[in-house]
Symmetry: C2
Subunit: 234 residues, 2 copies
């Protein structure tokens, strides 16, 4: 039972699959990887300094979470959710996240509250400075942090996936004109958490999600994706 060799930390440039997945998640949330972008194995190998096998496994994970579209013999592309899929994602968020908020209200610590509060300040800051990319990421992270504070890893993973897919949806179906993220609504949710008022937190979260969904124009074939021809013709 003697453990002589303790596992040493992995060296910097050798990431495991989860790390790669998270990096790609973040890039998608920040919309640095627009929907439809080809993710070729060779490029990813170079980007992460990693063997082809790791890349392949990461892509499989991303695909199983609906974030990447893995086509047979044709490679991996950042997913382009259809309108129907987008509706399903929002529906799932409305089903899950209010309950997440309710649980979080029951379980947050003082530390959590102040951490969330600091997070909201960063959001406001990013919005004030017009750093859209940062604002988007922080806004998504708010929801993930909330799931963290609900102390339920199952639901946390689900929220992570749904938030990422929402970024894809926003990337395709717009909401470019107006402000993306109601950080005031985030503040209201935080207030409910402070009061440990689970019902309020849940209902505020539901409203918030409805607002996000309304801002996204799912009415029709708005910003039909990503065709060079269309871009050059316009």
């Amino acid at each position: 039972m003697l453990r002589i060799a303790e596992p040493e930390k992995r060296s910097e440039d050798s990431l495991d699959e989860e790390a790669i997945v998270d990096r790609i998640y973040e890039a998608i949330i920040e919309q640095r990887l627009p929907p439809g972008t080809k993710l070729s194995e060779a490029n990813l190998c170079k980007a992460f300094n990693v063997g082809r096998m790791r890349v392949r496994r990461s892509l499989l994970l991303l695909s199983s979470r609906g974030v990447v579209d893995l086509q047979n013999n044709r490679g991996a592309y950042v997913a382009q959710p259809t309108m129907s899929q987008a509706l399903q994602v929002f529906e799932a968020r409305r089903a899950i996240e209010p309950n997440v908020a309710r649980l979080a209200a029951r379980r947050v610590s003082e530390r959590d509250i102040s951490q969330l509060s600091a997070h909201l300040d960063m959001e406001a800051d990013a919005n004030g400075k017009g750093d859209r990319r940062l604002a988007i990421r922080l806004s998504g992270q708010f929801h993930v942090k909330l799931a963290e504070m609900a102390r339920n890893e199952v639901m946390e993973r689900m929220v992570k996936e749904l938030v990422t897919r929402t970024s894809l949806i926003i990337g395709i179906y717009g909401a470019s004109g107006t402000k993306n993220c109601h950080d005031d609504e985030h503040r209201e949710i935080l207030a409910a958490l402070r009061n440990m008022n689970g019902d309020a937190a849940a209902s505020l979260m539901e409203q918030h999600l409805r607002h996000i969904e309304q801002q996204v124009d799912l009415s029709a074939d708005r910003k039909r994706p990503v065709d060079l021809i269309e871009i050059l013709a316009g």
Copy 2:
């Protein structure tokens, strides 16, 4: 040697990853693969007549869904949810599935209703004949079918995962004495669907899940498995 693949389906002996994952899901739900079972690559290759790569990718998927525990250099084992994980799984089910039931009530067709009804008859039949394995599987499938009828693939995948993990939990934490599956509660849910009464369906589902959870003895270290060393060392 593991007996997972049905010999009948040998005609198309080239399965893809999703098929393998589904087979293992089913085997776990039927509790033919008890928690902690080692899933060695060689055995799976033989069982499915498939190369090592396919097996490896399938195991990665199963692991990312919390159904298999993938240990470094030590292989894959059917997951053994801890008590805390079990509570999280049930919590997630209570958060999601009532909403699934509500959506299903809004969207079921006549065909769906009669299909579900036939399914319930099969459940009753299996229970009557004392075919415990079949009864367990059908009971799980009821929940998955419901998610199917909610017409939301995102939530359907989540329910699938949660149902499978619940089987693992039941396998570890018992509920062996009493009857596992209240098929009468399933019938009540079906009745609510017939009436297109979403609220009723949701609240019946919530009660149903609470009953399942209560039947599982999560109070303490009941049927604590399986690691002799850990037990004796602790």
